[in-house]
């Protein structure tokens, strides 16, 4: 099969805003579950006024929602466990960056 050119590769975190539906499709999760993620503070719409269908999420929500889904499924965690795990993982990531910046090899 010949390759199809794709000039339309867009950086999600910089150029894309998701509706709840679009985020659900991209992460293969239900909008109901995504709303519980918002309630738990794992992802946050850019503005929370109005009904969930009016919420808009920045591109960064894609990565966080996918990670939350992965942790919930693979570790069989409830939402609180997922939120805690993500906070800890984020801290670890920051620490790794600080170590790398200080020249410490992993």
């Amino acid at each position: 099969m010949s390759a199809t050119p794709t000039p339309n590769a867009v950086i999600v975190e910089e150029a894309i805003e998701f509706t709840l539906d679009e985020l659900g499709r991209a992460t293969r999760t239900s909008t109901r579950w995504l709303v519980t993620l918002v309630d738990e503070g794992v992802i946050a719409p850019t503005q929370r006024s109005g009904a969930p269908m009016q919420w808009r999420f920045s591109g960064d929500a894609l990565r966080r929602a996918r990670q939350a889904a992965r942790l919930a499924r693979d570790f069989e965690l409830d939402l609180h466990g997922v939120a805690l795990a993500m906070d800890l993982l984020q801290q670890i990531e920051r620490l790794k960056q600080r170590l790398a910046a200080a020249g410490v090899r992993d």
């Binding site: 794709t6 867009v10 950086i11 910046a101």
Partner: protein, 348 residues
């Protein structure tokens, strides 16, 4: 899914189906209880899950473990798998699986975890043969239940699913942008409704300024639509291949730059290899080892371009000749009362 982004094609999948030993993957007996299976899975998940694991090859190991648990944790799937195993073992000495080994299984209540499942191509060919059709049926029902399109089995057009993959790129690609050809394995149904994983090539334009961890969206490159519906999108998670010399933090790039002692002490003009072209840098006289110097805006491009940092690493020429040793002794003489450990001694 991991793809070697620089290769035009991947090797074709093996023609002979391998029977996957899920019990061995979890390290349990064939008579293990559901509790034992769950316990084994949980320990292995903590050990090999890519989000938390330090092990090499964690992603591949976790795929094995996850797929084994997916089958063995559910009574119906486990029963089907055990039966398939019995049929398979009756094939005799041949390498080919016996015909019909994977047929005739129905799953009424089996849970395919469709609410939060990974991509279909994450599963092995073996899993696909045994459970693929049922998994897709369950997912279609789940999508309908989520309100995404109409009920499964109707003639209404439905959007294809979004797919995800990972792509490793060179740091230089992120500086200048690049064209890469990806090979993807997608489940494709033939005329008889038999599904196999087919390879498809997609050309991706990597935009300059992309950062590690960001995603690219390729509209319409995901799963095919149903009944004339539009195709889904393809999301690519970008990672940088570890670089021999540069460290990357967001858009900032750091290089440890070796310099000679006289370059640091007396100052010098040196050429710094920056990914998008060498830059001449004036090292000020009296520079200490470890000094950080910033080349503003020479990091990854972007709305606010990153910076390029140079960290001076003083490298001593070896004292391996009479002349070199004499030079070091002369330096020692001229240093007089210089004490590099003055601060340490003052603490006593």
């Amino acid at each position: 899914m991991w793809f070697a982004a620089t290769l035009p094609t991947s090797p074709a999948p093996s023609a002979v189906m391998e029977f996957k030993d899920y019990y061995a993957a979890l390290g349990v007996d064939r008579t293990a209880t559901p509790d034992e299976i769950k316990r084994a899975y949980r320990q292995l998940a903590r050990k090999y899950h890519p989000d938390v694991s330090q092990e090499p090859d964690a992603e591949a190991r976790f795929k094995e473990v996850g797929e084994a648990y997916e089958v063995l944790k559910d009574a119906e799937k486990r029963a089907a798998y055990d039966e398939a195993g019995r049929r398979w073992s009756q094939r005799g000495a041949g390498a080919e699986p016996p015909p019909g080994w994977d047929a005739g299984f129905e799953f009424s209540g089996a849970d395919f975890g469709e609410a939060m499942a990974g991509d279909e191509a994450d599963y092995s060919d073996f899993f696909e043969a045994l459970f693929g059709r049922h998994m897709r049926g369950a997912r279609a029902s789940a999508r309908a239940a989520r309100g995404d399109g109409r009920a499964a089995g109707t003639m209404h057009a439905m959007r294809g699913e979004d797919h995800h993959a990972k792509i490793d790129i060179e740091l230089e690609d992120a500086y200048r942008g690049a064209q890469r050809t990806l090979t993807l394995r997608m489940p494709v149904a033939d005329g008889q409704g038999q599904v196999h994983l087919q390879q498809r090539q997609v050309e991706v334009t990597i935009p300059p300024g992309i950062r590690a961890g960001q995603h690219l969206r390729l509209a319409g490159q995901g799963g095919a639509g149903f009944n004339g519906g539009p195709a889904g999108d393809l999301y690519l998670e970008v990672a940088f291949k570890p670089h021999r010399h540069y460290r990357v933090d967001g858009r900032d790039v750091t290089l440890e730059l070796p310099v000679a002692p006289w370059e640091a002490a007396l100052g010098a003009a040196v050429v710094v290899p920056v990914p998008n072209g060498p830059v001449e840098l004036q090292i000020p006289a009296g520079s200490k080892a470890g000094r950080r110097m910033r080349l503003r805006g020479k990091g990854l491009p972007g709305p606010t371009p990153g910076d390029f940092y140079v960290v001076l690493q003083v490298v001593l020429p070896p004292a391996d000749s009479d002349a070199a040793q004499a030079a070091y002794r002369a330096l020692q003489q001229s240093a007089g009362t210089f004490n590099p450990r003055a601060e340490l001694e003052a603490q006593r």
